[in-house]
Symmetry: C2
Subunit: 350 residues, 2 copies
């Protein structure tokens, strides 16, 4: 199967060449990359990878982090992210990867691709970087305020992602709350709990608390974008802080330094396993096609993983899987089509 | 100054004797403890501490974690937690410490002590266990759903706690959100941001994201009880998980084992510094008197700290400080008193 991924190379801390090197290393074995950004540095970086299947499209305009990303997307139709997403819309690519601002990528995706048929809201999914645990958390910030039917769909979207991209056949799906009891949480959480419990094929295991996310009790953890963003960043912050403290502890004594020398390899290995770059970034689910947001601070490894995972999602038909499972569960949103002319009386059956 | 703390000794994983040993070690230098629980094991444990100023009150009935703690409190007027809180109500003690279920302690506090005058809602405050950082996070779960005026008061309650108990003269107060921008967050967060910005003396530094909690960017972090509970538990969970991973890494090779031997002392020291027992538990703020909830899994050290901190809060007049700063800011809640007889017509000026 041949898959094409459109990559916006702008917005990375290390510059567009770093994105090009990462994309090039994923562009083989049937995966083609369309690379959008300033042509000169991209072409130069790609000269190191003569066999990579990458085509450069010169797109020197970049959209940075904006207070109103939707407006920025409208005002800059030739910005690299807009061109990359348009390539998907036009059928020249199957998914897109962005290194830049999440807001702009989401806005471009919403305005050009729109939501997939039957999906109420897109959601951002992320994987918790823990070794031997493949926990997917969503939403990570696309929706700060949600209704029960949104979280209900997120559960199915996360499940399909876990199956198609992470590779878990029967994911355990949980609802994040301030306790494990089914009556814990806000009114919203309690209503969502009831809804998720009604779907037999979902793999819903109930509510879990914050400590159960890193413990790996569930494979998919569903929450709103406000709570999810705070939980993920708090976990990343503690991880950063602990490694900082461990380094300080090791350097505080000569005995510690000697031990640190012996442990340098293993601890670095552990730190690498906790590296968010391994996960390739955050995943925009629920649009007409998959979008992946690589973090701006990533090195080429992160961009390679982002492109490879986008390709894997297309091959596994993530979107089809998602819609099928939502349809089987009766959780697809049927939009009323306004096809009747203005002078026709519409009789509503419902 | 003489301070009396009422302690419920039931509910601890290690049994009431462990609570007694902890309480006894705090009961000196003007701090007296009234200890409620089954008399025999308490007296036996206390025999090791002949100079401790502890008085035992036999109260063998304990309230466990309940779906409806308010009902349990009403049904068991002689339960140890109810008797301990009643001692505060009757003026026999100045604050209470519970080792058991948070719900029962909060319910007993609400029903017997009520809210402090001018306080809309009690909140549970916790300190993030990080060395050299004294970050107070509230609410931790007393209120899963809040209104803007609740979070506004929590900011002042947290500030007074940070000053009186943690010892920070000018605490930096922040609002937890999914970004640092003032427009980030839910509608609730945006309104609270505006309110907190209007209080000059509060020390409000703006919104912070989840990663900034463990980074120690603020001394007081304000959020609702749903989000706060999830953030705190997620951070504790990651910390537990990382130490588990580090141990596994050390034991995976002979080189690692040798390094681990050299680092055993420093790493254990670090782990001790991250121990929640150092903080003495969670603090019930906004009631007619301070309540402290020690975690059921604590050892005597945690109970000692809980009792000592309760005493320190009374000495520093935490409640008076809180109400004064709320009053100066015009953020005290004035309740309408229903003193008019039923047959009098009340003209409402408003």
């Amino acid at each position: 199967m041949s898959v094409t991924v459109a990559v916006d190379a702008t917005g990375a801390d290390l510059g567009p060449a770093e994105v090009a090197r990462g994309a090039a290393q994923a562009a083989h074995g049937g995966l083609k990359v369309l690379l959008f950004g300033p042509a000169a540095p991209l072409e130069e970086a790609l000269s190191e990878f003569p066999s990579a299947d990458v085509e450069v499209v010169d797109a020197p305009v970049s959209i940075a982090k904006e207070a109103d990303p939707a407006r920025a997307v409208r005002q800059h139709p030739y910005a690299s992210i807009v061109q990359a997403v348009r390539a998907v819309k036009d059928g020249d690519a199957d998914a897109f990867v962005a290194a830049g601002a999440t807001g702009a990528a989401l806005a471009a995706g919403m305005s050009l691709l729109g939501r997939a048929d039957g999906i109420r809201r897109p959601a951002i999914a992320a994987q918790i970087p823990l070794p031997e645990k493949a926990v997917t958390l969503l939403d990570m910030g696309a929706n700060v305020s949600v209704r029960p039917e949104h979280l209900e769909q997120f559960a199915f979207m996360g499940r399909a992602f876990s199956q198609a991209v992470v590779g878990i056949e029967h994911p355990r799906v949980a609802l994040l709350s301030n306790g494990e009891e089914s009556i814990s949480g806000t009114d919203l959480v309690r209503e969502v709990h009831v809804r998720l419990s009604s779907h037999e094929g979902l793999g819903f295991i109930g509510n879990i608390d914050g400590a159960s996310i890193p413990a790996g009790v569930a494979d998919v953890v569903v929450t709103d974008g406000f709570t999810g963003n705070i939980a993920l960043k708090a976990m990343e912050g503690v991880s950063t802080e602990l490694f900082h403290l461990i380094r300080g502890t090791i350097e505080a004594s000569s005995r510690g330094k000697a031990g640190g020398l012996l442990l340098r390899g293993p601890l670095r290995g552990l730190r690498d396993m906790l590296d968010p770059e391994l996960q390739g970034g955050a995943y925009l689910l629920g649009l007409g096609a998959l979008g992946v947001i690589a973090h701006g601070r990533f090195t080429e490894l992160g961009f390679e993983n982002a492109v490879a995972r986008a390709g894997r999602a297309v091959e596994a038909d993530l979107l089809g899987l998602t819609l099928n499972s939502l349809q089987s569960a009766g959780a697809l949103h049927v939009r009323r089509k306004r096809t009747a002319p203005a002078d026709t009386v519409v009789v509503n059956d419902a």
